[in-house]
């Protein structure tokens, strides 16, 4: 095949796979893996090159985190904090909503948004049921918080994990550059919540008494495990922060923490954990994506795309950063942000060959991270956490329609993208 034809064939496989992922006609892992191996069968990629494209740092980092989370869940600490928070608010629904927003954002920054939603949304629904108030505003604001929080660190949302692994930026770089932006967007969102829901939420004394009768202290059954998990996670974060000195590799750090906790906490149920707690479908979805994106790199398509972007922005870092931020934000609102970031990374690497100064290329990377993570809030299908939360709500008789979700979440998205724009412009240019 001629190079141009090979590129077209790779692009065709890529587009079809993306369509299958977006429309969910078939399972997304199946779509990604099929796309990857079809590329090898067609001779566009050799098996060797395809397998070399798989970022094992990302895969093992995620496995390690999944193991850590499986043990952390067992300690009951997340449910404990969520219920304690609601009781501290003495049943005041607006304060509960604000505190749940912050807790969801912080938890997502370290556990990832999907896990956080799966743990906290059911508790929020129970609290709302006991307080006799609608759970819908809680679900929507918590989803917004989870996508924001996930953007704050390198280990929060999968796009950041992938960016962190593919680039020279380490855990602390993410904290220094992204966390401030997220703190600003969170504060602005809290203000928006007060404006939107201040007068809408009322709770009777009788229902408040029901909430106050929760015995959250019963949830902490194994104090020893809680202390060990806390220490392990603490050490893990310190090691991640010292990555630029120690050069251990982030996957090695998370795997060590995960294996240690499973050893200590769940030695006898290892097989169950490996089957139930490690999300193999997501992992193999990523593996398929890495292979597919590699074909676009190998055939030179990404090069072409990067040049197009650069010529449109006249090689200038400022307009490039803005274009990337808003393009990422809008596109991520409609397509899964992981395949989007996987495609964008090699493109930004090409742009980095033209815009070589660190102070000028760095903001472009941060713009992409903020755009993809925050853009996930744009619509109901923008991020996995949104879809998962809508699924939980539906199974409990709360139908969340596309528009009902989007008309609220889009406000937060535009607000947070505006704040990110100001942040990037003021801080870097």
């Amino acid at each position: 095949m001629s190079p141009a034809l090979t590129m077209l064939a790779a692009l065709a496989v890529f587009v079809i796979t993306y369509l299958l992922i977006i429309t969910e006609w078939i399972n997304k892992m199946l779509a990604a893996l099929m796309g990857g191996f079809i590329l090898i069968l067609m001779g566009i990629l050799s098996q060797e090159v395809a397998f070399r494209a798989i970022d094992w740092n990302v895969i093992f980092f995620l496995i390690g985190m999944m193991l850590v989370i499986s043990v952390l869940r067992e300690t009951g600490v997340f449910m404990y904090v969520a219920i304690k928070t609601a009781k501290q608010a003495r049943g005041n629904p607006l304060i509960i909503m604000l505190m749940m927003f912050v807790f969801t954002a912080v938890a997502s920054a370290f556990l990832g948004s999907v896990t956080t939603i799966m743990i906290l949304v059911p508790i929020a629904m129970l609290i709302c049921h006991e307080l006799s108030i609608s759970a819908l505003p809680f679900i929507i604001t918590m989803v917004v918080a989870s996508n924001m929080g996930g953007a704050a660190t390198m280990i929060g949302d999968p796009p950041n994990i992938i960016i962190g692994s593919a680039t020279k930026y380490n855990f602390l770089d993410f904290i220094f550059n992204l966390t401030p932006a997220i703190v600003f967007t969170t504060l602005a969102s809290l203000g928006l919540i007060v404006v939107m829901y201040r007068k809408k939420l009322r709770v009777s004394m009788q229902n408040r008494a029901k909430l106050m009768s929760f015995k959250e202290e019963n949830l902490i059954r194994n104090k020893r495990l809680l202390i060990i998990s806390g220490l392990t996670v603490g050490v893990m974060l310190v090691l991640l922060a010292l990555e630029s000195v120690l050069h251990l590799g982030t996957a090695t750090v998370s795997m060590s923490a995960g294996l240690l906790l499973v050893m200590v906490g769940n030695r006898k149920k290892v097989e169950q954990i490996l089957i139930n707690e490690v999300d193999w479908v997501t992992l193999f979805f990523f593996i398929g994506l890495f292979m597919i994106v590699e074909s676009l790199v190998e055939t030179g398509f990404i090069d072409k795309l990067a040049h197009q972007v650069l010529s449109a922005t006249h090689d200038q870092p400022k307009p490039t950063a803005m274009a990337i931020l808003w393009l990422s934000g809008v596109l991520s609102a409609f397509i899964d942000n992981v395949p989007f970031v996987a495609t964008m990374i090699p493109m930004l690497e090409r742009i980095g060959l033209v815009i070589t100064q660190a102070s000028q290329i760095d903001p472009i990377w941060w713009a992409m991270s903020l755009g993809t993570c925050l853009g996930g809030n744009g619509t109901l299908i923008g991020a996995s956490a949104n879809v998962v939360a809508a699924g939980i709500a539906k199974r409990n008789g709360i139908h969340v329609s596309f528009w009902e979700f989007t008309k609220v979440s889009a406000i937060y998205t535009v607000l947070s993208l505006l704040i990110s724009t100001a942040y990037i412009l003021l801080r870097y240019f």
């Binding site: 799966m118 629904m125 129970l126 009768s213 015995k215 019963n218 949830l219 409990n396």
Partner: protein, 301 residues
């Protein structure tokens, strides 16, 4: 199990000569011993004496013209069969016998022995089958014939034998209250759901009823130790007239057919952690089988 699979063509003989009872038995013993010398080392004349001694106590000939002498061999751990088809019948206790079947069994395998005897007796009562076998004049042909006829040694117990036929069942549009009173009155943990023609639609389990009071979000939590009471569960029965069986029943569950074996039922119960199975034949509910039925009727018996 097929009778044909217990037979060896070399131990089946067609006898034209006129023999005495002793000669007929001895020939048959010798044929078996020749074939199975390794498993019956002490094979020989002592066996004939043992058979004759037993026959003194009670005759081994049956009115249908078959004689089934039998000997238990210590440590044989097998069942060996020899057959002789006689052109000239023997006279055993006044019964004309033209088919001698000699069986060696182990001391312990009485169940298989009794089943084989039952199968042979049934066969001997069918004159056409007997005449057909006599005409074959060849051991291989006899085995082929018996296999073709599908002559079985003891029929295995199936689910149809132990299930509860005509079980209590309920329609999909019945209110939850009716289901609840059936569960309560008849102390049932599961009712099959059927339409007017008794076509199987699904099952309503007692846990499906309780689940009405426990929403999905509670099921997603890792631990409920903090929750000391939950109103929707306690007030579950207030809503029993609003909810239909259709809303809570489970569909697409594994069902058993009446000809399923006991071991298949037990396998499914263990694998799926279910103690109750609907028994369905061609889409129609014919019974219910429970782990307790199996325990009582099979294991204890």
């Amino acid at each position: 199990m097929l009778l044909a699979d217990f037979l060896n063509a070399k131990t089946i003989a067609f006898e034209q000569r006129i023999l005495t009872r002793e000669q007929a038995y001895e020939d048959c013993i010798n044929r078996i011993c020749q074939q199975y010398r390794h498993s019956t080392p002490k094979c020989g004349s002592s066996f004939l004496e043992a058979i004759l001694a037993r026959e003194q106590e009670s005759t081994m000939a049956y009115a249908s013209g078959i004689a089934i002498p039998h000997i238990r061999v210590e440590g044989l751990s097998d069942t060996l069969i020899g057959m002789t088809y006689l052109q000239t019948p023997l006279d055993i206790a006044g019964i004309p016998v033209d088919w001698v079947v000699l069986i060696f069994t182990d001391k312990s395998s009485s169940k298989i022995y009794l089943n084989i005897v039952a199968a042979l007796l049934k066969l001997s009562q069918d004159p056409a089958a007997k005449a057909r076998m006599h005409a074959l004049a060849d051991g291989h042909a006899v085995i082929t014939y018996l296999r073709q006829q599908g002559i079985e040694v003891g029929r295995d117990v199936t689910i149809a034998d132990i299930m509860v036929s005509n079980p209590f069942c309920i329609g999909p549009d019945a209110p939850l209250s009716e289901l609840n009173s059936q569960i309560n009155e008849h102390k049932l943990a599961m009712l099959p759901v059927v339409d007017e023609q008794m076509r199987y639609l699904g099952e309503a389990h007692i846990l499906d009823v309780l689940k009405v009071g426990v929403p999905d979000y509670l099921m997603m939590m890792d631990d409920l130790a903090f929750l000391k009471s939950y109103e929707p569960l306690e007030t579950l029965f207030e809503r029993q007239n609003e909810i239909k069986v259709r809303d809570i029943m489970q569909t697409g569950m594994k069902v058993l057919t009446p000809d399923a074996s006991i071991v298949e039922a037990v396998y499914n119960m263990i694998q799926q952690h279910r103690r109750y199975f609907s028994v369905v034949e061609k889409g129609v509910l014919v019974g219910v089988v429970t782990a307790m039925d199996i325990f009582r009727k099979v294991i204890k018996a």
